[in-house]
Symmetry: C2
Subunit: 291 residues, 2 copies
């Protein structure tokens, strides 16, 4: 058995909850010899270094990626394009690049354009993990344990690159799945982006009523659970809306039709349809709970 | 100080999670001398008696309420009208009647019709408490501790009756508020009934997509929290839809307009509107968390 780590020199751009947790986990498992952190905010990088999350930190992204084996983009989705443009020329021909963005089609297109002939080294990735917290001080090595990571390689993506990114995530406890990029965006639009839109729209709607009444005083436990995701970072979710616009609009359209169907059944005292919708939903949700 | 209990003989119709928990709590605090449980299902009553929740049990509702000081209707909303009709003639002129239904206007109208000149003894009530569980075996004395109970008395409701029901709930740890009956139905439609409609509609919608794809496999923690209430009892929620139809339709209409506004903003890349909706929602939800 070799003592050679999986990755010699790793660079993480964006040392927040996700980037910081990946760095901690990779370090803990001895998966890389050294980690450079890069980002816009020197103070944050100094903190990450003090916390022992990264070895060195720099705000010069182009400099940071030089002589690295793997670059992980852990920045908000809306910043990916600029970061790719900034680092593209400094990447070695065999440096692998991966990302952690919640949407994949638009990032793949940005990478195709900005990375040019190095695009085959780009492995689009999405760890389905996170908390309501953010920032490197909230990061922890176990964040990806038993979570799923979806990779959406294109037909010309380097097989070696995909293998190394797969090994990285697997080694820190995640289950790695491969998926077609558009299918990823639709599945996530349905199970994550749409629920966030509904929670945001509901709480905003009630907040405007609340100006006139004490409505939130009577919110029970069910409401708190239901609306917890409306506390998520608005800027991050704005970016996701822009980035996965078509799939989100498609899901909103399907949902609005189904909600209108339920509304009409209530309006018409159509007990059978109401019972069918509620029972089918309960059955599906109960199955989810069992897993 | 008198050793006289607040209520001499209490009758609880519907000995499930709510009725059973109220009986346990009242007993624990010595608030009543004896408790009769009544309901359709003899087996359930026998179980409640074995568990020490009630003193005696009977399936004869008219018989059960005779010579009682307080009758609590703890049956599903859709059964209230029939129960009121069944007990009306057996109620003494000074027997107080209260209920625990999630909707109030339709129950008040049913009580007005079925109780006739005894209507002034009816105190419409709604403890905002419950779990995903149901049945007397899930009942526990602390269910109402630090929960809110809303009473919606009418102008001719007996002041003494309201006072006794208030003391009952306060003595077992709940905070009692009085509210106009229609305001109650709108506040609950907004904070409880509408979220349930959205959760049911979403999970039903996705369940139909799931027949074609593995969509639920990628549902993360946020989705589980968001859809937990879709596991609620379909029959109970069908009854609530029927009983609070107008307020629920009004809230669905407001929500659908607000969701369309967000949808349009996403369609038109209107970043400002998207950011405003998300930020206002986050601010409102964060304040709720602090309480």
């Amino acid at each position: 058995m070799s003592n050679q780590p999986l990755i010699n020199h790793m660079c993480i751009i964006g040392v927040g909850l996700i980037g910081g947790s990946l760095a901690r986990a990779a370090r803990q498992r001895g998966l890389c010899a050294s980690i450079t952190g890069a980002g816009r905010n020197q103070e944050n990088l100094t903190k990450a270094q003090e916390l022992g999350v990264i070895d060195t930190g720099t705000t010069d992204l182009a400099e940071a990626v030089k002589n690295t084996d793997l670059v992980v983009l852990a920045v908000p989705v809306g910043q990916t394009e600029n970061v790719l443009a900034e680092i593209s020329k400094s990447l070695a021909d065999d440096t692998i690049v991966t990302d952690v963005g919640s949407t994949k089609r638009s990032i793949v297109e940005q990478a195709r354009e900005k990375l040019g002939n190095k695009f085959s080294n780009f492995v689009p990735g999405h760890p389905i993990a996170g908390t309501e917290q953010s920032g490197v001080e909230s990061s922890f090595a176990e964040l990806f344990q038993d979570r799923r990571v979806i990779l959406t390689p294109e037909s010309n993506t380097s097989k070696t690159a995909v293998d190394i990114v797969t090994q990285l995530w697997s080694s820190i406890g995640a289950t790695v799945t491969r998926m077609n990029v558009d299918h990823h965006d639709e599945v996530l639009a349905a199970t994550s982006h749409l629920p966030h839109m509904l929670a945001y729209a509901l709480v905003d709607s009630l907040a405007r009523m609340h100006e006139k009444t004490e409505i939130f005083e009577y919110a029970a436990g069910g409401f708190r659970d239901f609306t917890r995701i409306a506390s998520s970072n608005p800027e991050m979710w704005h970016d996701i809306c822009m980035s996965n616009r078509d799939a989100i609009l498609k899901m909103l359209d399907i949902f609005q039709k189904d909600l209108s169907r339920l509304t009409q059944a209530i309006r018409e005292n159509d007990s059978e349809t109401i019972r069918n919708i509620f029972s089918s939903a309960k059955q599906a949700r109960d199955q989810l709970r069992k897993k």
